[in-house]
């Protein structure tokens, strides 16, 4: 049996103006279990809190009800006061008689009657309150960043700067990501490599950062603060500790006809290769699909030329397991495949290219050494058509319903750079709308139109027909409402971007949620944009949604800040109002786990003694207190009522219902 104290606050005249506080305090004296009831001018003041503290001590109160303002205002205050005299803070309930009573009613009788009902409802609840304690779990002070693009690099650098060790897992032989393929960045037009490569070097040299290149995450166990991750280090057949990155092997390798993915297949590399000059780590990798030695056992040229003795044809995939307190997903994006877009003749003509391919064609380290030449005949194009929204804002099955966000700006950049370098080239851009919400973005776009004379045409391209060495572009101009035909030399498609294919299986491993487009979902779209709903998983960059570089970097740093905030704690204080499953009643049906947004529920097989004195192994749910956020979705899906929520239990809520309806 509880010994309950009730404290009715006047809040000056805020409450006392329309609620007879004395009458409320008096009425509560007759409620079951109430041993002390009083009123005071300002319960939240120090004097008011002292009344509460003294009463708790004097009357040996086991629970208290404060009739005052909203619990959103002072619940914490009164809980602290109770705790200071040894009463568990969760034995405090607030009856909201200000916002939800005195302030909305004008009549004293009405206000008082309602305040009494609200007070007795809180008393009914506190009868069933139980002391709660927040659990604590130690935090492993190491972070994992999955993906080594600009997002992952930035996040890792920021975390490392704060003094925490951080590992980057990158599936390619080098970090750098998409940004390393880009020539210049909008709207400032500075060279991407010039700003990215120093960061890559920083990451490599930072003693807190460890880079697992050519590696993938293959398993994740555990929960926030205590993840256990298995990393697959793919065999690159080169000893990382020995390779100096001299590049001799990549020059001597006799297998020269390997499509170079870094240049999007527009030129060739060797079977042993370093993706690009500034690669980090600068270590050669053997492509097992093409290496003659690995395929036939005959060759071994690279091994012979390597003075460091780094080549190891016997290398196998290696699995390492590491513990982390937090995981950042930075898996980035890819342009979509355009094989379903026959109307643009992408598969038919070499001179229909994607924007990313265009980047490589204009990049000094690209296949044409920076000269804009047509892939088909190496001639300089004089008429270029850029097509926007290829696959973006496209509700057909092959397309993406969302806006890819970056295409308007990079197309403006491409158009502008083309006109600047090759003023004899005519540039057309077909668009649905031009979207330029960003700092200096619209100015940039206007420069393209006004200063550089790029022809922006509102309308979609209906068809691209290769004819001789020309590409006949049929389009409609929606403003002048006429059909256009342009005999272009080069067509550049602004392909939609989509999350990297590795994201979906990764999300499954992390139990992080994704939307239907495979973008990771954030914990709250406005207020928690860099966290996944799964505690301890953070989102950086385009894996969460299309982003340009400044946004990506901003989000990367934000994710880092969240990670640092987690890692500085020695222990994590868990939410005290968590779900709890009564294993004697649990059916093990898994419905609770299905509705849990946080993957806080797992199952164990447990032996139970049966009524007939035999034992039986049953599957029962176990809630991870460290992960549960206390929403209660599981409690309702549980038919037997085994799952209940501490602080908002079935019985407590029913007692409130009963007290109101009494």
């Amino acid at each position: 049996m509880q010994r309950i104290g009730v404290f009715v606050c006047h809040c000056g005249t805020n409450i006392a103006g329309t609620v007879d506080v004395k009458a409320v305090a008096e009425a509560m004296k007759y409620e079951n279990g109430v041993v002390f009831s009083t009123d005071y001018q300002y319960m939240c003041s120090e004097a008011g809190q002292n009344i509460i503290k003294d009463a708790i001590k004097e009357h040996k109160l086991t629970g208290i009800v404060v009739c005052s303002c909203s619990p959103r205002m002072h619940e914490a205050t009164f809980r602290k006061a109770a705790q200071s005299v040894g009463l568990n803070p969760y034995m405090v309930e607030i009856a909201n008689i200000r916002e939800q009573c005195s302030w909305i009613h004008k009549d004293m009788a009405t206000g008082t009657e309602k305040a009494i009902i609200l007070a007795r409802t809180a008393v009914a609840k506190v009868h069933l309150n139980a002391p709660l304690t927040s659990g604590e779990t130690p935090v492993v002070k190491r972070a994992l960043v999955i993906g080594g693009g600009i997002a992952g690099i930035q996040t890792a650098l920021d975390i490392a700067d704060a003094g925490f060790p951080v590992d980057i897992v990158e599936k390619l032989p080098t970090i750098g990501g998409k940004m390393s393929q880009i020539d210049k960045t909008f709207p400032t037009l500075d060279c991407a490599a010039c700003i990215l490569t120093p960061k890559m070097v920083d990451a490599a040299q930072n003693e807190n950062i460890k880079i697992y290149s050519y590696s993938e995450v293959s398993g994740v166990k555990g929960f926030v603060g205590n993840f256990e991750v298995t990393i697959k280090r793919k065999a690159r057949f080169v000893d990382e500790t020995k390779c100096t990155g001299c590049g001799l092997c990549t020059e001597k390798c006799p297998q020269k006809r390997v499509p170079n993915e870094f240049n999007l297949g527009m030129d060739q590399r060797r079977a042993i290769y370093i993706p690009f000059a500034q690669a980090v780590p600068k270590i050669a990798t053997i492509d097992a699909d093409y290496c003659t030695m690995l395929k036939t056992g005959k060759c071994g040229v690279c091994s012979k030329v390597c003075t460091a003795g780094a080549i190891d044809y016997t290398q196998k995939d290696e699995f390492i397991t590491e513990k982390y307190g937090a995981i950042v997903v930075a898996t980035g994006f890819n342009p979509i495949k355009l094989d379903k877009y026959d109307e643009y003749a992408y598969s038919q003509s070499k001179d229909v290219i994607t924007s990313l391919e265009f980047e490589r064609l204009t990049n000094a380290a690209g296949p044409t050494a920076g000269k804009l030449l047509r892939p088909s005949d190496g001639k300089h194009p004089h008429k270029i058509v850029f097509v926007q929204c290829v696959g973006s804002r496209d509700t057909r099955e092959c397309g993406k319903s969302y806006c890819s966000k970056i295409c308007c700006m990079y197309t403006a950049k491409h158009a502008m750079l083309t006109r600047e370098k090759y003023p004899d080239t005519e540039v057309y851009v077909f668009y649905i709308d031009v979207r330029t919400p960003g700092k200096n973005f619209d100015e940039f776009y206007r420069r393209a139109v006004e200063e550089y004379g790029v022809h922006y045409i509102k309308g979609m391209v209906g068809k691209v027909i290769p004819e001789g060495d020309k590409l006949i572009v049929r389009a409609s101009d929606l403003i002048s409402n006429e059909q256009l035909t342009i005999d272009a030399d080069l067509v550049v498609l602004a392909a939609a971007i989509e999350p990297d294919k590795t994201a979906r299986p990764l999300a499954t491993m992390l139990t992080a949620s994704m939307d239907t487009n495979d973008f990771f979902t954030e914990a709250h779209p406005k207020l928690r944009p860099v966290e996944s709903p799964t505690a301890g998983i953070f989102l950086s960059g385009a894996c969460q949604g299309p982003k340009d570089i400044p946004e990506t970097v901003a989000q990367a740093s934000a994710a880092a800040a969240k990670v640092i905030g987690l890692l500085v704690k020695d222990k994590m204080k868990n939410n005290a109002c968590v779900a709890h499953s009564d294993e004697n009643m649990c059916n093990g049906c898994s419905n609770c786990a299905k509705v849990c947004a946080y993957n806080a529920i797992s199952y164990v097989d447990k032996e139970f003694r049966m009524p007939d004195r035999t034992t039986r192994v049953r599957r029962v749910a176990v809630v991870n207190d460290a992960v549960c956020q206390g929403c209660g979705a599981c409690t309702v899906t549980c038919p037997s009522g085994a799952m209940d929520l501490k602080g908002f239990s079935n019985k407590q809520i029913m007692a409130e219902v009963d007290a109101i309806c009494k």
Binding site: N587, C589, N591, R616, A642
Partner: protein, 321 residues
């Protein structure tokens, strides 16, 4: 069919493949069949039966039996296999411990329907194709088998087995049943008529719990109605409301999980059409969230443990004309 089943049961028992066989056992009369666990050939020879009256869904017994050592053979009719799958999806049965033999079914007969036609005193009964001959202490009758079929069989949803290790007899198809017609009829009544209809039905409830205890979806370790701590414990029908509460809650607890096997209505001693509550939920789920048949796919996610962002708002109910 019965002989084929008996031989199969004996064969697997003899080989040691299974430790026991869950089937149906003949009774005192020609219709009072009891589910039973057979452990040897003799028991099977003496008691095993499969006929028009083997309506009982055996899947729920697996919860208990599949916890014991060794494998158990169970005979499941097409509709029973849906319950079986649903139990599997809720981890109530260990699949490895069960050998499912699917048996075909051409509808089961409701003895109550026959009694309503021929009266009491049935001493002999034989089925011959479309006709059933009945001999009572007082007279002889011949009735159409179709007229004696149980309601759930008249509106059979599927003759296809959705789970089995072995199939005896022919496999059927998922049927285009008219099972929602009656629900629709009630929906088309006025609110007052609906209230009257249900009050009339539910007030007969004697809270014997037969509907709950036979229901394969009601397999809770501890039912909230038996749990003094749940706040919903109530042993007897007290006021008609208490009964509404019981049946609404029960229907809600099995919503999205009920396979519409119809056992609840079959066992109700008071003849309350409880399946019409469950079917209402099924119909609503199909209409609002897309067709879903519980038990069809044990890997499927139930309609109440999933959602779409575009789900209709509750106002489709509360604001409808």
């Amino acid at each position: 069919m019965q002989e084929v089943m008996k031989n199969k049961a004996k064969e697997l028992l003899a080989s040691g493949e299974v430790r026991a066989v869950i089937g149906w056992k003949k009774g005192e009369f020609c219709y009072d069949i009891t589910p039973a666990v057979f452990t040897n050939a003799e028991e099977i020879d003496n008691g095993f039966i499969y006929d028009d009256f083997c309506g009982a869904n055996l899947s729920k017994y697996l919860i208990k039996e599949a916890h014991k050592d060794g494998k158990v053979l169970v005979f499941l009719k097409p509709c029973d296999t849906y319950s079986f799958n649903q139990l599997l999806s809720e981890h109530r049965i260990n699949r490895e411990k069960v050998y499912v033999v699917g048996v075909s079914c051409d509808g089961k007969v409701d003895i109550e329907k026959i009694k309503r036609t021929v009266g009491d005193g049935i001493i002999a009964l034989s089925s011959d194709g479309d006709k059933i001959s009945v001999e009572t202490l007082y007279d002889k009758y011949e009735i159409n088998r179709a007229d004696a079929l149980a309601e759930r069989c008249v509106n059979c949803k599927s003759k296809k087995h959705v789970a089995y290790d072995e199939l005896l007899g022919d496999e059927g198809e998922v049927l285009d049943s008219k099972r929602f017609d009656e629900v629709e009829m009630i929906e088309n009544m006025t609110a007052d008529e609906r209230f009257e209809f249900w009050r009339n039905e539910l007030s007969r409830c004697i809270r014997c719990n037969a509907c709950r205890n036979v229901c394969p979806a009601c397999s809770c370790e501890k039912c909230i109605f038996d749990n003094d701590n749940s706040g919903y414990v109530n042993k007897a029908p007290v006021t008609s409301f208490e009964e509404n509460m019981f049946h609404i809650i029960r229907a809600f607890h099995v919503a999205g999980r009920c396979t519409d096997c119809g056992e609840c209505s079959r066992v109700c001693p008071q003849g309350i059409p409880l399946h019409l509550l469950n079917r209402k939920f099924i119909k609503d789920i199909n209409t609002l969230y897309g067709d879903y048949q519980a038990g069809e796919d044990p890997e499927a996610r139930g309609p109440l443990t999933s959602y779409t962002e575009k789900d209709p708002e509750p106002s489709v109910v509360t604001d409808k004309e």
